[in-house]
């Protein structure tokens, strides 16, 4: 006699217990602390904050620990937490010229006001595995410090704009849309597109940005400027009527300079692709800037031929929390639909076989 499968509840509990055990790994190895992750896996924390759409280094580090280092899972944990938080209001817009810079480079000028500041970068390191890091307890010598901090650093794009060579961005006092509260609608306004990209999957943005360099979208990008550093976030409580500082967050900004051949109404000039992300995320900010420029095709009256110019394609597929959920949902049972397909296929084959036999007779 066939007995239907049961015991799902116990199986789930057992699976979760096993998950906890594998997370801890060999108990002989000391347990990671959240502070260690936050300090020593800082770029992972930055990515999780960006894709988790929530600037909180401690929570992001905790999520990484809980997710066993799976960064998309960690971003998902952070998002699911974020969505339950009460909303007190919106901060004042950030003025990134006021950033406390750690790094600032431009690829369009050899030297410029404020100078080229390399900061803590992998650029120009030789990618040789450093076996010294395998030994624990080695002292890390302090990095040499510049005599004077970086101050008064104008934006490269602003230098161009003053000459009329860089298109000025349209200004608007309108409240920007918010994807965490309203669904995407098309055509999507640029603020909404940028919000989508800022939270988007780094790999997806990277691949799309890359594709624009390879002829899919006809981009001719230059890195006008990359800025990495900290900036104060201010909030104006309605009862006070003036802004108060809430604290500092780390951000990376990229302004990509692109050609624009001009139109009947506008002379040829440069146009901007813009990237702004939480933490230190140059690859993400640059990719975002490339894709942002690609998505401006409609507004700049360019032919839409490439994936990176296709608003619906990009914005509907950039979110790795949505994407991973739907790809992984294929693990869920689908046997009811599969059964329907089976019967359907059997019927089709039977019909075809009958037709073949009738033809043969």
């Amino acid at each position: 006699m066939y007995v239907a499968v049961k015991g799902g509840e116990r199986a789930i509990s057992a699976a979760h217990a096993w998950l906890d055990e594998t997370r801890r790994g060999d108990p002989a190895v000391p347990e990671l602390t959240v502070a260690q992750i936050e300090q020593q896996m800082g770029l992972a924390v930055d990515r999780v904050m960006a894709e988790g759409s929530c600037h909180d280094r401690f929570l992001a580090a905790l999520a990484i620990k809980q997710a066993k280092g799976d960064l998309i899972e960690a971003a998902f944990l952070l998002r699911a937490y974020r969505t339950t938080l009460p909303r007190f209001g919106a901060s004042e817009p950030l003025e990134t010229t006021a950033m406390r810079l750690r790094r600032r480079i431009s690829a369009t000028y050899k030297d410029l006001p404020g100078g080229q500041v390399l900061g803590p970068t992998f650029d120009y390191t030789h990618r040789l595995l450093d076996f010294a890091l395998a030994a624990e307890g080695s002292e890390c010598p302090a990095a040499p410090e510049a005599a004077s901090p970086v101050a008064d650093v104008p934006r490269v794009t602003e230098l161009l704009a003053r000459e009329g060579l860089m298109q000025r961005e349209a200004t608007s006092e309108a409240e920007p849309g918010d994807l965490t509260r309203q669904p995407l609608t098309f055509p999507a306004e640029r603020p909404v597109r940028l919000q989508n990209l800022a939270r988007g999957d780094e790999g997806f943005l990277l691949a799309l940005g890359y594709s624009t360099q390879r002829g899919y979208g006809n981009a001719h990008p230059f890195v006008g400027e990359i800025r990495v550093g900290h900036i104060a976030v201010e909030f104006t409580p309605p009862e006070l009527g003036f802004p108060i500082e809430l604290g500092e967050i780390g951000i990376t900004e990229c302004q990509m300079v692109n050609q624009f051949k001009g139109s009947r109404t506008e002379p040829a000039q440069f146009t901007r692709g813009y990237g702004l992300v939480f933490g230190h995320g140059e690859r993400r900010a640059m990719s975002m800037a490339l894709v942002d420029r690609g998505l401006r095709a409609r507004e700049l009256d360019e032919d839409i031929t490439a994936p990176a110019q296709d608003e619906e394609f990009v914005l509907y597929h950039s979110d790795n929390i949505e994407a991973t959920g739907f790809v992984e949902h294929l693990k869920l049972p689908h046997y009811v639909d599969f059964q329907s397909e089976l019967e359907n296929l059997r019927t089709i084959r039977r019909t075809a076989e009958q037709a073949r036999q009738e033809a043969a007779e």
Binding site: A80, E322, E328, Y335, D337, Q339, E343, N344, I348, T351
Partner: protein
Amino acid sequence: MTITVVPPAPSTLEGYNFAYLDEATKRMIRRALLKAVAIPGHQIPFGAREMPLPYGWGTGGIQVTASILGPTDTLKVIDQGADDTTNAISIRRFFTRVAGVATTEHTAEATVVQTRHRIPERTLREDQIIVYQVPQPEPLFRLEPRRMETKRLHALADYGLMHVRLYEDIARLGHIAKAYDYPVMVNRRYLMSPSPIPAFDNPKMHRMPALQLFGAGREKRIYAIPPYTEVRSLDFEDHPFRPIRAPHACALCGSRDTYLDEVITDDAGGRLFVCSDTDFCAERQADSAKEAAE
């Protein structure tokens, strides 16, 4: 019938609102639900939130259920027709934790049934609501992936694309080859995805006494069918809609008119068929056992 309702837990999850969602989110979803009922079959975009379960795993259904559920409700959750499939258990657990709501496995005892991929065999009543988990609310998506375009087609009630697609099946295969997620016309106006239920279940949607609500979390759409509303599976006069089921009897209860799962019993072609609706099947088995004993 024995009463198997699990009583509500004394308290809900600490630090979270009743039914998880904050009140502003619930209001937004509730407003969308009311408009959905007023425009049967029309997809309404809503600001779906991240849930603590992944997108694609029922977040739309969960958000709808969380927005309608109250302390006097009794919730049943099924996946593939069964109460004890892992994701159904996980969702039921979620609502027990965050809403402390009573749960049941018996369709007859439920006031709210959340489902993935099936409609219970037992006819739903006026005092029940069924909430469908929907992975892809747009019935035209395989024919036109752009939502800007499909929105326009719905506005014009231009469903020629779908008719052509179904007619091509007939021309090529002799009949319509859509076995699940078979498109329906609601109240003669909107083409609607019934969610990936088998086409076998489509007729149950027609003039159902219960309110039917649909939630797509990842795609951020809500839609609804009011009670007693006309729901027609698309077909052609010379090729009427035919619901498909395996032509067998249930190995457990003997039913010949329910939807069956195929179970592989060995690696030598052995198989048998059992009801997909586990509650319905168990009730039939209990009834026949009682009759045998009398």
